[in-house]
């Protein structure tokens, strides 16, 4: 191989007798096993890996609290439900999490919405009046057309208690940043949006406060929502398909259905097959 793969994040030095075996790994310059392992926390290292710099204690703490909120979007979350569907069918762990990401990546309650809401918060913080018009349509985009204002819950009448609590708790360590801004302007923003702030909007403010780009936050959102998907998929795998809702009484065809045919009678054919070798 004459080409090389380029990275500024990760360095591996080879073992003296085996060029395919790494003896030391460095994450943004820090020895992972000799330095970070004994001295750093998981959220400090996660911040370092994603953002490329060592976090302050306040930043690591905020990321950890974001992770606590994100870890389980709940059994009714679309990504967790997708994971449970795969889990109850006894799909492999990897397939379960792919299903979780598939539905958890969306722009309604998912990672994409977090990144879109960050854009709105960044554009509106400090503005004299709020403009929450959706980002301009991009005809080349693979994403569906936006149907609600990112960061707000189009189906709710008021912000839920847990959303309000999360804003308060996350803003406790904020030094006048995005979280304090959201807390202070929430009602005015909701009036413009015509909908209450959602947890996605709160998380978006926290990622803005952490200084993450929208792209990094989208990845972090996906990663941090997976523990709940795993736990609930494992539970449904154990409970089994008999207790898992099939929604049999809910789904109704909206178009005329064709006339029903009798099943083919294969009795004679089966007799022939069974007696075939006798």
């Amino acid at each position: 191989m004459t080409e090389t793969l380029e990275t500024a994040i990760w360095k591996e030095t080879p073992s003296p007798d085996d060029p395919f075996q790494a003896s030391h790994c460095y994450c943004h310059g820090y020895d992972v096993h000799e330095d970070l392992l004994p001295n750093a926390s998981w959220f400090e290292v996660l911040f370092l890996l994603l953002a490329g710099k060592r976090p302050t204690p306040a930043e690591a703490s905020l990321l950890e609290r974001v992770a606590i909120i994100s870890m389980n979007p709940g059994t009714r979350d679309l990504g967790v439900r997708a994971a449970m569907n795969a889990g109850v069918g006894r799909a492999p762990a990897g397939s379960v999490l792919v299903a979780a990401i598939s539905a958890g990546a969306g722009q309604f309650g998912g990672a994409r919405e977090v990144s879109l809401a960050m854009r709105l918060w960044s554009e509106n913080r400090g503005a004299a009046s709020f403009d929450l018009s959706c980002p301009a349509e991009d005809e080349r985009s693979e994403w569906p057309r936006l149907e609600h204002v990112p960061g707000f819950d189009p189906h709710a009448r008021s912000a839920s208690a847990m959303v309000l609590t999360s804003i308060e708790r996350l803003a406790e360590g904020s030094d006048g940043g995005f979280l304090v801004w959201l807390r202070e302007h929430r009602e005015a923003l909701e009036a413009v949006a015509g909908a209450p702030v959602s947890m996605t909007g709160v998380l978006a403010a926290a990622y803005c406060e952490l200084g993450f780009s929208a792209a990094i936050a989208e990845y972090a959102s996906l990663i941090l929502r997976l523990p709940g998907a795993a736990a609930h998929a494992l539970e449904q795998r154990e409970l089994g398909w008999r207790t898992f809702p099939f929604h049999s009484d809910v789904v109704r065809p909206q178009q005329p259905t064709p006339p029903q045919h009798d099943l083919p009678d294969i009795t004679a054919a089966v007799k022939e097959y069974v007696g075939d070798t006798k």
Partner: protein
């Protein structure tokens, strides 16, 4: 693998998949995609990629029907529901389909049942060919408490796909395969011994075994088995507002854990 073997592969990766000489041509397996293979249907090309073989028109119709008759466009079916939920979350069409497809590696549907059925049928076929009694072999399986994969449907429950597949094959005079007929002999034995019928997986695997599929080829072929039912479910999800697919209230979830407590 030793470091020197890894080094050899680092320097030269031998491929039989094909080779794309960009701006010039694309070799698919042993053939030029844009010339020799250009008149194949996409389905035939996929079969060639999986097996390295070409199939007769009747065989292609049979395998096409295997995919067609298992593609149910019902949002309640698990892989479809994943696609619909992803659509409801307004993810991209491809991401939604990938989520549904990933779940098809499940033990209870699509890939695993088919692969296990095919392995069982091939194993039994070899032993019957060698002169063993099928009934004795099956009794031994039951005595050891083993599952005969593909057979476990309650006697009163009919899988509607079975009679449709049988008639499709009969109409094409394609119902003479060894594993196909073996599957019905197994069912006859298990109906008497345990009052259980075959699932469609047994018959689909039998068809594929008779067409020479091995376990890996079965797994690859089954990856898109139910795919055609998925796009309608994504589109369905887009017809209702975001979050509108089978919405759940808090009290639709029955909590069975410990009561709220302090950390």
């Amino acid at each position: 693998m030793t470091p020197s073997e890894l080094e050899q592969l680092r320097r030269c990766y031998p491929t039989r998949a094909g080779f794309a000489e960009l701006s010039e041509r694309s070799v698919f397996g042993e053939h030029d995609l844009h010339h020799t293979l250009k008149d194949l249907s996409w389905f035939e090309l996929n079969l060639y990629g999986i097996t390295g073989r070409r199939f007769s028109p009747v065989q292609v119709r049979v395998l096409n029907y295997v995919w067609l008759q298992t593609s149910y466009a019902d949002v309640r079916i698990w892989p479809n529901r994943i696609v619909a939920l992803a659509g409801s979350a307004r993810t991209t069409p491809l991401l939604a389909l990938v989520g549904g497809l990933a779940s098809c590696d499940a033990e209870l549907f699509v890939a695993t049942p088919l692969v296990r059925c095919l392995a069982t049928l091939r194993r039994l076929r070899e032993k019957v060919r060698a002169g063993d009694s099928l009934e004795t072999l099956l009794q031994a399986e039951l005595d050891q408490g083993r599952t005969v994969y593909g057979f476990g449907r309650p006697i009163a429950s009919v899988d509607e796909r079975v009679p449709h597949l049988v008639m499709f094959l009969r109409d094409l005079d394609a119902d003479r395969g060894e594993c196909f007929r073996l599957a019905f002999r197994i069912e006859a034995f298990l109906l008497e011994a345990k009052q259980i019928r075959m699932n469609i997986a047994a018959l689909l695997a039998a068809v594929c075994a008779d067409l020479g599929f091995d376990e890996v080829q079965m797994h690859l072929f089954s990856s898109l088995l139910v795919f055609a039912g998925m796009p309608p479910c994504y589109l369905d999800a887009k017809r209702v507002p975001p979050g509108g697919v089978l919405p759940l209230r808090c009290d639709d979830v029955r909590y069975t854990g410990v009561s709220p407590r302090k950390w």
